[in-house]
C-alpha cells in the first residue's frame, strides 16, 4: 500500500501560519503544543551574499522506519498500513524517549495528561477522503498531501515545466 506524506514547497511558504491555526482548530491541541510548526530561517546573508528569508512548516514526517517506534518502551507507537504513525495515548507513559530520537522534534509533551502527542496526519479526515486540515487551508499551496508516488510526480512535473520555460527563453522552443 502506498504511504501518505506531506510535502513542503519552501519556495511557496509565506509564513502566514494558517496551517498552525487550522491544526489547532481541527485537533484541539492545548496551548503551546503545535503539531505543525512554522519555522523562520533568517533574515541572514547566505554565502553568496543573497538575503535568505525562508519559512518552513514542519509536522511529523511519518517516517518509513520511524525511530520513535523503535525506542518506545511501552510499544505505544505504531505505523498503520497507509503510513500514518500514531501514538496510542492509552499505552503512552510519557517518558519522552521519542522526543530524544526524533530528528524533527515532532513529538511534544503534554504536561496536562503526562503523555506525548504528535501529528496524526488528520487520519479521520483522510479516511473520509478529505485533505489534512493544514494542507486544505494552505492558500499558497506550499503544503501538498498525497501518496509518495503522487508527491514525486508533482515535483517532476514542476521540474519539467521549469525546463520547458528555460528552453523558451534560451532557444525559443514553445
Amino acid at each position: 500500500m502506498p504511504e501518505y506524506g506531506i510535502l513542503v514547497d519552501f519556495s511557496r511558504c509565506i509564513g502566514c501560519r494558517a496551517c498552525e491555526a487550522a491544526c489547532k482548530e481541527t485537533n484541539g491541541t492545548p496551548e503551546g503544543i503545535n503539531w505543525i510548526k512554522n519555522i523562520r530561517i533568517g533574515p541572514e546573508y547566505g554565502p553568496d551574499g543573497n538575503l535568505i528569508l525562508t519559512m518552513v512548516s514542519l509536522n511529523c514526517m511519518h517516517c518509513g522506519k520511524a525511530p520513535c517506534i523503535e525506542v518506545c518502551p511501552a510499544k505505544a507507537i505504531s505505523k498503520r498500513p497507509d503510513g500514518i504513525v500514531l501514538i496510542d495515548s492509552a499505552k503512552c507513559i510519557g517518558c519522552k524517549h521519542c522526543l530524544w530520537v526524533c530528528p524533527f522534534g515532532a513529538p511534544q509533551f503534554n504536561p496536562a495528561e503526562g503523555k506525548m502527542t504528535k501529528c496524526v496526519l488528520c487520519y479521520q479526515r483522510v479516511e473520509q477522503g478529505k485533505l489534512p486540515a493544514c494542507v486544505a487551508t494552505c492558500h499558497p499551496k506550499a503544503l501538498k498531501f498525497g501518496t509518495t508516488e503522487e508527491l514525486s510526480t508533482y515535483i517532476r512535473e514542476k521540474a519539467a515545466r521549469r525546463a520547458q520555460r528555460a528552453s523558451f527563453y534560451i532557444i525559443g522552443l514553445r
Binding site: R12, I14, G15, C16, R17, A18, E20, E25, P43, M55
Partner: protein, 649 residues
C-alpha cells in the same frame, strides 16, 4: 450531534473568501471550514479566517446597551439608550443646527447597513457630515481612477492575474494583508509570469519576486515618471493607443522628460542599473497587471502616485485588455459608501473624518455617531483625536467590543459581526457576495441595520425605515443603482440584471467622451522632511496576524502569542550606529509624540527606514506618533513616511 452548515464569507480582507460555518442544533457556532465552490479561495483560508469564531464568541463582546455614568458604564435597556440618543441629538439640532452632528462608519459593513446609515444621516438628521473609514484606505485610488479613467470601479477580476506576463506589486504585501491572493501570484509564477515588487521592506511577497526594488518611501511618483521617461526615450510606448483612446499625453511627456535616470536614482535611492532592469522587464512584457495598495497611497502624494501608475499603463497601452490593468487592493471587504449622494437631498459635501475631528475640537461639531470603527487608534495623532472626541456633548458608538473609541462614548450600542447579519458586501474586484446569518448576536446585541432603523424610528421617522427584511433594503438600494454601479457596485449584480458582462474599458473608458485622461504629476519633496533631529523614516505596516486596529484579533490568544507587542524593524547598520541590539526596548519619537517598542534587528528593511506594525497594543500604538498630514486630493493621511528618531531606552 447534527449540525447545520451555513455558507457565508470571511469578514476580514477584501478577498472575501468563501467559508461555511457549522452550527449545532442550539444555534451555537462550532467550526469554520473553507468552501471549495468560491472562486477566490477554492478551499484555502488564512489563519485570521480559520480563527474568526474565536473572537466572535469572545466573552468581552458587548451584550447590552451601555450608558456612561461619570467614569464608568452602566447597562441600560434599548429604549432608554435610544431615548437618550434622540433627546440629546434633538436638543443639539435645535440649538446649533443639524450640521453640529457628524456620522462616521467603518466601510467593513454590508451595503444595506451603510445605505441605511447614510439615509439616517441625510434624511433624518439632515447633516451632510458623513464619512467612512475607506478614507484611510482606497480614497487615493478612487480619486485617481475617477479622474483618469472616469470611474472608481476596480477594472479587473482576480483571474486576470493568471493571464498576464508581469505582475507589478506597488507598495502592497499580499502575504500579510491578503494571504489568499498569494495563491494567484504563485500560480502565475509557475506559468512563467515575472513578478516585480516595489517596497522599502523585503516582505514575504518580495521574496517571490524576480526583481525587488527597495525604494525610499514616498518617492513612487519620481520612480514611475522616470520609468515612463525611459520608455518614451526608447520609443517603447504605444502611439496608436495614445492617439485613439486617450487625451492629454503631451503634457505628461513634457513633465516626465525632467525625470532622467540619474535624478530618479538620486531621489529613490535605487541604482540606475536596477531602474533600467525594471524598465526592460516592463517593456518586454506585452501584458502587465498592477497590484497596488496602501504603500503607494498613504502618502502626502497618494493620489498623484496612483495617477503616475495609470499614466505609465496608458502610455504603453496596457489597459483594457485581458491580463492588463489594475487591482487596487482594499484592506477589507467593503460596502458601497458612495450612494446615496448628498446632492440628491439638497445637501453639500460634508466634512471628511479628520475635518470632523478638528471641528469637534473647536466645538463646531457637538454630537457624533460612530458605527463599528475605531478612529482613536486608526487616525493619525491619536491623542488629539481623543481630546477632540472628549469635547463632544454626545458620542454614540455602535460596535462589538469596548474599543479605545467606545471607552470615550456616552452611549454604546452592541452591534453585530458579519457572521451575525444578512446582507451583501463587495470583494476586491467589485464583485458582490452574499452574507448569510449563521447565528444570533449575543444577548441583547442586534444586527447593525436593525439598530439604525430603530434609531430612525425613535427620531419619529418611521416612513422609509420600516423594512421587514434586508432584501427590501437591497431592492431599494438597487433601484438607484445605475449610479451605484458606476461607483463600484457589483459585477455579479450587473450580470444578474442582464446589463451585460462586458470587459471594462475594452472599447471605451468611463468618461463621457470614452477617452482616458492623462494627468501630469510632479514629485514633490515632502514638506515634513527628515532632519538631524528626526533622521529616520517610519513606515507603518500590517503583520500577517493582527487585523487593522486588532480590536478583534487582539482578543485571540493565537495572534497575541505571535505578535504580542509593538516592535520596531530596524536595519543592523542603523541599529549599530544607535547601539541598539535585538530585543532592546527603544523609544520612537516624532514631532507629535513618542511610543515604546521592542527592537527587531533585520536586514529586510532599508537603512534609512524603520517600521512598526499599525495594530493596537496595550503598551501603545503607532498612530500616537503619526502626525497630521494629508494628501490634498483624497485627504488620505500619510502613514508611510514619517520622520522619527529612535533611541535605546
Amino acid at each position: 450531534m447534527e449540525m447545520n452548515t451555513i455558507q457565508t464569507h470571511c469578514p476580514f480582507c477584501s478577498i472575501a473568501c468563501g467559508l461555511s460555518i457549522r452550527v449545532d442544533l442550539f444555534g451555537r457556532p462550532k467550526q469554520v471550514e473553507p468552501r471549495y465552490d468560491f472562486e477566490h479561495n477554492r478551499g484555502a483560508l488564512c489563519s485570521r479566517g480559520i480563527l474568526s469564531l474565536e473572537w466572535m464568541r469572545n466573552r468581552e463582546r458587548l451584550k447590552k446597551p451601555l450608558i456612561r455614568e461619570k467614569d464608568s458604564f452602566r447597562e441600560a435597556s434599548w429604549s432608554e439608550a435610544l431615548q437618550k440618543i434622540t433627546s440629546v441629538f434633538r436638543s443639539l439640532i435645535e440649538k446649533y443646527g443639524p450640521t453640529s452632528i457628524a456620522f462616521y462608519a467603518s466601510s467593513r459593513l454590508s451595503n444595506e447597513t451603510l445605505y441605511l446609515f447614510k439615509k439616517l444621516c441625510y434624511e433624518v438628521v439632515k447633516t451632510p457630515h458623513i464619512d467612512f473609514n475607506d478614507r484611510l484606505g482606497v480614497a487615493s485610488a478612487r480619486a485617481a481612477y475617477t479622474l483618469s479613467l472616469g470611474s472608481s470601479k476596480p477594472p479587473n477580476p482576480l483571474a486576470d492575474l493568471l493571464a498576464t506576463n508581469l505582475i507589478l506589486i506597488l507598495g502592497a504585501d499580499p502575504s500579510s494583508c491578503h494571504p489568499v491572493l498569494m495563491k494567484y501570484i504563485f500560480d502565475a509564477k509557475d506559468r512563467g509570469t515575472r513578478i516585480v515588487v516595489i517596497d522599502p521592506r523585503r516582505t514575504q511577497t518580495a521574496r517571490v519576486a524576480d526583481l525587488h526594488l527597495q525604494i525610499k518611501p514616498g518617492t513612487d511618483v519620481a520612480f514611475l515618471n522616470g520609468t515612463l521617461n525611459q520608455l518614451i526615450t526608447a520609443g517603447l510606448i504605444d502611439r496608436n493607443f495614445i492617439a485613439k483612446r486617450t487625451k492629454g499625453f503631451d503634457s505628461v511627456q513634457e513633465v516626465v522628460s525632467k525625470y532622467t535616470s540619474n535624478r530618479v536614482a538620486e531621489i529613490t535611492g535605487i541604482k540606475e542599473e536596477q531602474l533600467r532592469a525594471f524598465t526592460r522587464l516592463y517593456a518586454q512584457s506585452p501584458r502587465v497587471m498592477v497590484i497596488h495598495s496602501r504603500g503607494l497611497e498613504q502618502h502626502p502624494q497618494g493620489a498623484s502616485a496612483v495617477l503616475a501608475c495609470i499614466n505609465l499603463a496608458l502610455a504603453t497601452g496596457k489597459v483594457g485588455k485581458q491580463g492588463c490593468g489594475f487591482i487596487p487592493l482594499m484592506g477589507h471587504v467593503s460596502g458601497v459608501t458612495a450612494f446615496p449622494n448628498p446632492s440628491s437631498y439638497g445637501l453639500k459635501e460634508g466634512y471628511t473624518i479628520y475635518e470632523m475631528v478638528e471641528a469637534a475640537y473647536r466645538n463646531e461639531i457637538k454630537g457624533m455617531y460612530i458605527l463599528a470603527s475605531n478612529p482613536v487608534v486608526s487616525l493619525p495623532d491619536s491623542s488629539f483625536v481623543k481630546a477632540a472626541l472628549r469635547k463632544l456633548d454626545l458620542l454614540v458608538v455602535q460596535d462589538v467590543f469596548l474599543t479605545e473609541t467606545a471607552k470615550l462614548a456616552h452611549v454604546i450600542l452592541p452591534g453585530s459581526t458579519l457572521y451575525e447579519c444578512e446582507g451583501t458586501i463587495n470583494a476586491v474586484d467589485g464583485g458582490c457576495v452574499e452574507l448569510k446569518k449563521a447565528f444570533n448576536a449575543p444577548k441583547d446585541a442586534k444586527e447593525d441595520w436593525r439598530i439604525i432603523c430603530e434609531v430612525a424610528k425613535s427620531f419619529g421617522v418611521s416612513q422609509g425605515f420600516d423594512y421587514r427584511s434586508v432584501e427590501e433594503v437591497f431592492e431599494e438600494l438597487k433601484s438607484g443603482t445605475r449610479e451605484t454601479i458606476s461607483l463600484g457596485m457589483s459585477r455579479d449584480l450587473l450580470v444578474s440584471e442582464g446589463a451585460g458582462n462586458e470587459k471594462l474599458y475594452e472599447d471605451r473608458f468611463a468618461h463621457s467622451d470614452g477617452l482616458a485622461a492623462f494627468y501630469p504629476v510632479e514629485y514633490a519633496e515632502p514638506a515634513d522632511h527628515v532632519s538631524s533631529e528626526y533622521p529616520l523614516l517610519l513606515i507603518t505596516f500590517k503583520t500577517p496576524y493582527h487585523f487593522l486596529t486588532s480590536s478583534e484579533t487582539g482578543r485571540v490568544d493565537f495572534f497575541n502569542q505571535k505578535c504580542p507587542r509593538p516592535y520596531l524593524e530596524i536595519h543592523p547598520a542603523t541599529a549599530e550606529k544607535l547601539r541598539i541590539s535585538q530585543g532592546d526596548k527603544v523609544t520612537v519619537r516624532s514631532r507629535c509624540g513618542e511610543v515604546e517598542a521592542v527592537a527587531e534587528v533585520t536586514d529586510t528593511i532599508r537603512e534609512d527606514c524603520v517600521a512598526i506594525p499599525m495594530h493596537w497594543f496595550k503598551e501603545g500604538w503607532v498612530n500616537l506618533i503619526v502626525p497630521k498630514q494629508f494628501d490634498p486630493t483624497s485627504k488620505i493621511p500619510n502613514y508611510k513616511s514619517i520622520p522619527v528618531s529612535v533611541e535605546r531606552k
